[in-house]
């Protein structure tokens, strides 16, 4: 039942609004609402019960393992939440003066420094509100850089075919054309194709390394050299940064600009779809273009740097400078990890991924790149199973839900058929990984003996498989009183 369907005219959570009803007589009638909005009218208990029960219908890290490639669903430490929610931080108005913001700004300043160090970049802005906004900011800085040099012919951004969909979309948002570069059979970027593609029209290339096929591109230094030689810049998509945190730095690989997904690598919560945070780091030549605001320290005093301080900045991306509460969570996480803990993130994420790939292969599943090390993630292709049993990757994914595992990323990257992109992360234990392997084996057995069971999965969720086609064709996007 929708909260709206439990509504009853005149019912209220009385304690939650002012007890006095003030008049609004001085407002012009023509500007006032004529009919009351059709919002739910419920009691406090009703709302609490409704949303508590709704929450129980979710999978979440706190209840289930998410071996979800490219999404780094790892444990979100509870202290990050409670410390970011301290009243002093929550009550602070975004326009409070620096005199009343020193404790808060100190955290952001130190976070900037930590992110600079782990990425090997020259400067960092925390402003972007999510990974995609970080990408937008990064590409916008590439654009600003070329424009400042009057290098206006650079209209093209190169993007490997395995890239996240946000990469080409962000490039287009900045007015660039996108050219796709194929992936070689070994999982690395096809370096010959790349060489052919770069040229005076190249503004830059957007790369994830390790890539979305779960391998570290061994030619990264050569790629950097080629693109730089052609006058282009290198953009690092930080979605997979968890794989190399504390081990390898994008700045050392030759990247000019990087965004980080704090809700992945720095374990801020996904929250059912956000908020994220997508700080960007840059090499020295891009620093003037960083989005504002930034935090600086002058002596013992912290203050914001704004448009006035950074006239060449690509500008402001949200009204108040970013998802501050998420930045605080990432700061707490970074301080809990410390330098040794950062390195362990990459080490154990990689150990888990390679172990899980090994065990799945031992169980007879096919890895897409069996000759390669897994990075923090790897691809299993269910092409054989699909052919033999008529049970596809989506069916496996849905049936995994019944076994208590969130589905891996399916059908991405697009270049591997019937693929599952699997990323166990460092915070799951060997027992959890073994349990996942056992579930995969059990589902394959079911696919063999009772394919219908798998094809109609899930069976133990609050709903059975949903009709996505109907959802898109017979659009029902909002409840209304008449309905």
């Amino acid at each position: 039942m929708l909260i709206q369907e439990g509504s009853k005219p005149g019912r209220r959570a009385t304690a939650q609004a002012p007890l006095t009803r003030h008049a609004l007589d001085d407002l012009p009638v023509a500007l006032r609402r004529r009919a009351r909005a059709a919002l739910p009218e419920v009691s406090e208990l009703q709302a609490v019960r409704h949303y508590t029960r709704l929450s129980q219908q979710n999978f979440s890290i706190d209840t289930h393992m998410y071996p979800l490639g490219s999404c780094t669903m790892k444990y979100n430490p509870r202290a990050c939440h409670s410390l970011a929610m301290l009243p002093g931080f929550l009550a602070r108005h975004p326009l409070a003066p620096a005199s009343h913001s020193q404790g808060f700004l100190a955290c952001l300043f130190e976070l900037q420094d930590i992110l600079k160090e782990v990425t090997g970049m020259h400067a960092v802005s925390l402003a972007p509100a999510a990974g995609a906004q970080g990408e937008l900011a990064g590409v916008a800085m590439i654009r600003a850089y070329h424009r400042a040099r009057k290098d206006l012919a650079r209209t093209e951004i190169l993007v490997p075919d395995a890239a996240h969909g946000t990469n080409p979309a962000s490039a287009v948002m900045c007015g660039f054309q996108v050219r796709e570069i194929p992936t070689g059979s070994d999982g690395d970027v096809d370096i010959d194709a790349l060489t052919r593609a770069v040229g005076p029209q190249t503004a830059g290339i957007m790369l994830t390394n390790p890539s979305t096929v779960g391998v570290f591109d061994r030619n990264i230094q050569r790629i950097a050299a080629e693109v730089h030689r052609a006058g282009g810049l290198l953009y690092y998509d930080g979605a997979n940064l968890n794989a190399i945190l504390g081990k390898v730095r994008p700045g050392d690989m030759g990247f000019d600009v990087i965004h980080m997904n704090l809700h992945k690598t720095f374990s801020t919560p996904h929250g059912g779809g956000g908020p994220g945070a997508g700080p960007v780091g840059v090499s020295a030549r891009l620093e003037p273009y960083l989005p504002v605001p930034l935090v600086t320290r002058e002596g013992a005093h912290y203050r914001w740097l704004t448009e006035a301080d950074r006239p060449e900045s690509i500008g402001r991306l949200t009204a108040f400078g970013g998802n501050m509460g998420i930045l605080l969570r990432a700061y707490v996480y970074a301080r809990l990890l410390g330098r040794e803990g950062m390195r362990r993130v990459a080490e154990f994420a990689t150990l888990n991924a390679n172990y899980l790939m090994t065990q799945l292969r031992a169980a007879g599943f096919n890895a897409a790149y069996p000759q390669r090390r897994a990075s923090h993630e790897f691809i299993i292709t269910l092409k054989t199973e699909a052919k033999e049993f008529g049970v596809n990757a989506m069916d496996f994914a849905k049936r995994l839900l019944d076994y208590g595992y969130h589905a891996p990323t399916t059908y991405f990257p697009l270049l591997v058929p019937e693929c599952l992109l699997i990323e166990p992360t460092e915070s799951e234990s060997k027992e959890d990984l073994d349990g996942f392997v056992a579930a995969m084996i059990a589902i394959r057995d079911e696919a063999r003996t009772n394919p219908e069971l798998v094809k109609t999965a899930p069976h133990r969720m609050p709903v059975r498989r949903l009709d996505d086609v109907r959802a898109a064709r017979q659009l029902d996007l909002a409840w209304s009183p008449q309905a």
Binding site: L54, V178, R218
Partner: protein, 455 residues
């Protein structure tokens, strides 16, 4: 090893299974030269006890000033239930609901949110949120330019009395796509947008859209019906930028003018989100049914499962970047799900009557604050038209100094209008929501009087 569950036995067994000697061997495909040593600038790890002590000290460091700043972020009462439920692990640590069957909690909640936003704005459909109000407006503008098939123009009319940070954000996000923002001056006396001002710009048209901000940055109410009719008569789409609390009592965009606005967007922060130093907040974006395929961001639809039982799922994904890549309506994927969770619970707890009471109390407080401050010689209302929620006041002394002196007394006295509007200097934009008491406002007034007396 915080957050790593591996025992020494586990590590040994796992390495043996993989067939390598050490974890380091797993990185052997990475060129040696790229492997880094220490991270000298990253401090050593802390125990939770230690970071707790540090963060508590920092959170306390900045005191608890009495705040009369609004300017796009408002201090409202948030029911205790809101964040207690929002913080539940099943909401907090859940992934984007791509696996619908395992995400019915989040999906149904988003559908309820969409329904609340359409009810508040009077429009047909809503997305499931964008980053914030300002970037949401940028998406609204991009959408309007795409959607307006009648007027093929890249020009959009944007009032100067729109929040300055929104104007800057708009600039950053939409200009790389070649969109031109045309300023509408505000009325010197009224602080509003007049039809005269629009008519004066007509020759620069045609325009793809007109942005209307209700109430505007100065808290002044616009004549939204007239402005809407003006634009739609010229085939421009109308984008309303609105405050959801104000919408409880003000005419919803869907009712503006003879046909209603086409798009409405705004900042959902007043619905259950603490000030939080500026974020995370959530932008909302609603539109007419006709434009639904141009709507960026995630959208939840109601459908049925194999048994015909109702359920919820992300829909219209063909608009989105993970399917459409460079042909997507936007690059946005992450939204502000957790904040929407708070907004939905908040709105359910307040209900229509509760929101009306909050809006009315904010209005009453803001009027009362204006009255109290204007009793001080030299302080007077800057504009002569009805305002809602906040007020622009002319000050008899330089505002930067006043604000500094007030801050030293633990009062944040408002937003300095002269920074973005030199022509208004010296003036403050002040706000008193329902959480400010009469005593708070008296404190402000008496302190300001004292400060001015010594100025």
């Amino acid at each position: 090893m915080p957050f790593v569950p591996h025992t020494q036995d586990d590590i040994a067994a796992m390495l043996a299974a993989i067939g390598v000697e050490s974890i380091d061997a797993l990185f052997d495909e990475i060129p040696e030269a790229l492997r880094i040593g220490t991270l000298a600038a990253v401090p050593a790890g802390l125990a939770e006890m230690e970071i707790s002590r540090l963060m508590q000290a920092r959170a306390r460091a900045d005191g608890e000033p009495l705040c009369f700043i609004g300017a796009g972020a408002y201090d409202h009462h948030i029911p205790a239930a809101v964040w207690q439920i929002t913080s539940r692990g099943e909401f907090y640590s859940a992934y984007t609901p791509y696996q619908a069957e395992a995400s019915q909690g989040t999906l149904q909640l988003l559908y309820e949110f969409q329904s609340m936003m359409t009810a508040l704005t009077g429009l047909d459909v809503s997305n499931a949120s964008l980053y914030d109000g300002a970037s949401g407006l940028a998406e609204a503008v991009l959408m309007a330019v795409r959607a307006n098939r009648k007027v093929r123009s890249d020009k959009v009319l944007v009032p100067r009395n729109l929040h300055p940070a929104y104007r800057r954000t708009l600039q950053s996000i939409v200009t790389p796509q070649g969109i031109e923002l045309v300023d509408i001056p505000y009325d010197e006396e009224g602080g509003h947008i007049s039809l005269e001002a629009l008519n004066a710009l007509e020759s620069q048209g045609p325009f793809a859209a007109l942005v209307i901000n209700q109430p505007n940055f100065f808290g002044v109410l616009e004549e939204v019906d007239d402005l809407t009719d003006w634009a739609q008569a010229r085939e421009a789409l109308v984008i309303g930028v609105v405050n959801p609390i104000a919408l409880a009592v003000l005419s919803p965009p869907g009712d503006w003018g003879s046909q209603g606005a086409d798009i409405a967007c705004g900042e959902a922060q007043p619905l259950g989100m603490p000030l939080s130093s500026g974020g995370p907040y959530a932008g909302f974006l609603c539109c007419r049914q006709a434009f639904v395929r141009q709507l960026p961001g995630r959208i939840v639809g109601r459908t049925v499962d194999l048994d015909g039982k109702p359920g919820f799922t992300l829909t219209l994904q063909a608009r989105e970047q993970h399917i459409r890549r460079n042909k997507a309506t936007s690059n946005i994927c992450t939204n502000q799900g957790l904040l929407v969770t708070a907004a939905t619970i908040h709105t359910a707890l307040l209900g229509p009557e509760g929101l009306e009471r909050v809006a009315a109390a904010c209005h009453a407080n803001s009027q009362r604050l204006g009255t109290l401050l204007c009793e001080i010689p030299g302080v007077e209302p800057r504009f002569n038209r009805p305002s809602f929620h906040e007020q622009a006041l002319r000050m008899p002394a330089p505002t930067a100094e006043l604000l500094r002196a007030l801050a030293a007394q633990q009062i944040l006295g408002g937003c300095d209008l002269g920074l973005d509007y030199p022509e208004l200097d010296p003036a403050l934009l002040v706000c008193a929501t329902e959480v400010r008491t009469e005593e708070d406002m008296q404190t402000y007034a008496s302190t300001l009087a004292r400060v001015l007396a010594h100025a």
